[in-house]
Symmetry: C2
Subunit: 114 residues, 2 copies
DNA sequence: CAGGATCCAAGACGATACTG
DNA sequence: CAGTATCGTCTTGGATCCTG
C-alpha cells in the first residue's frame, strides 16, 4: 500500500531515508574538498584551483556554482582590476562540518580510503 | 602556511578530509535506499526490486554487486528451484546507519529534500 | 584574474528481451 | 526467481582555447 503510493508518486519515500538532498550536495568529485578547504576561511577562485590540485577549471567553476545554488557558499565579487572573487561558506555550509567529520571517521574506521 | 604545504604536496591531503571512501560507497542513486531497506532485515532480490520501486534491474544488480564488493552486504544463495538469493547487511553495513541517520537529519533540518 | 565556450570520453542510469 | 545482454540516453569530469 505504502508501496503503491510510492509507485504512484514515483518518489523516494519521505521516510527518514530521504538522504538524497544532502548526498547530492556533497557528492561531486571535488565538493568535499572545496567545502573542507573553505572551512578554514574564504578563498579566491585561483586559490581553490591551486589548493585542490588536479581539478579542471571548468569543473571547479561548475561545482562552485552548484554549491552556491545549494546555499552552501557565498560568492563575493570585488569591483577591481584585475577581478577578485572570494568564496565563503554560509552557515548552512559550515553545518556540513559535522557530516563530513562523521563520514571521515567512518572512512578511517573501516579503512575504506586507500 | 598550512595552505602552502597542501599546495606543495598537491594532494588530497591525508588530513581528515578523506571522505572519498565513504562517499563512494553510499553514492549511487539507490544505494542509500538499499542499505536502508536492509537495515530492517534481509531481503531477496525480487523484494528489493519491488520495495525500491523505479530502480532498473540492471542498476539494482550492479549496486548489489558493488555493495557486496565493498563489504557492506552479504549474498546468500540457496540451492533451490526456483532460485533464492538473500541479501543481508554486514556489520560494516550496519555501521552505516549512523552515517545515513546524520545525513537524513541534516537533510530535514535544511529542508534540502524537495 | 575569473571564468565561459567547445568538444570528448567514460560511466551511470534506464527499458526491454532473454536465460539457467 | 535471479539475474545477464543489449542498446540508448544523460550526466560528470576533463583538456584546451578564448574573453571581459
Amino acid at each position: 500500500m505504502l508501496t503503491e503510493e510510492i509507485i504512484e508518486k514515483k518518489i523516494e519515500p519521505d521516510c527518514d531515508c530521504s538522504i538524497t538532498g544532502s548526498i547530492n550536495i556533497i557528492s561531486g568529485k571535488w565538493k568535499p574538498f572545496i567545502i573542507w578547504t573553505l572551512l578554514s576561511g574564504s578563498r579566491r577562485f585561483g586559490e581553490l584551483h591551486k589548493v585542490i590540485h588536479g581539478i579542471a577549471l571548468k569543473v571547479l567553476s561548475r561545482h562552485l556554482k552548484e554549491l552556491e545554488a545549494d546555499g552552501i557558499i557565498n560568492r563575493k565579487v570585488y569591483a577591481e582590476v584585475p577581478p577578485k572573487v572570494e568564496y565563503t561558506l554560509t552557515e548552512k555550509g559550515m553545518s556540513l562540518n559535522d557530516v563530513l567529520q562523521l563520514l571521515a571517521e567512518w572512512d578511517k574506521k573501516h579503512k575504506v580510503t586507500k
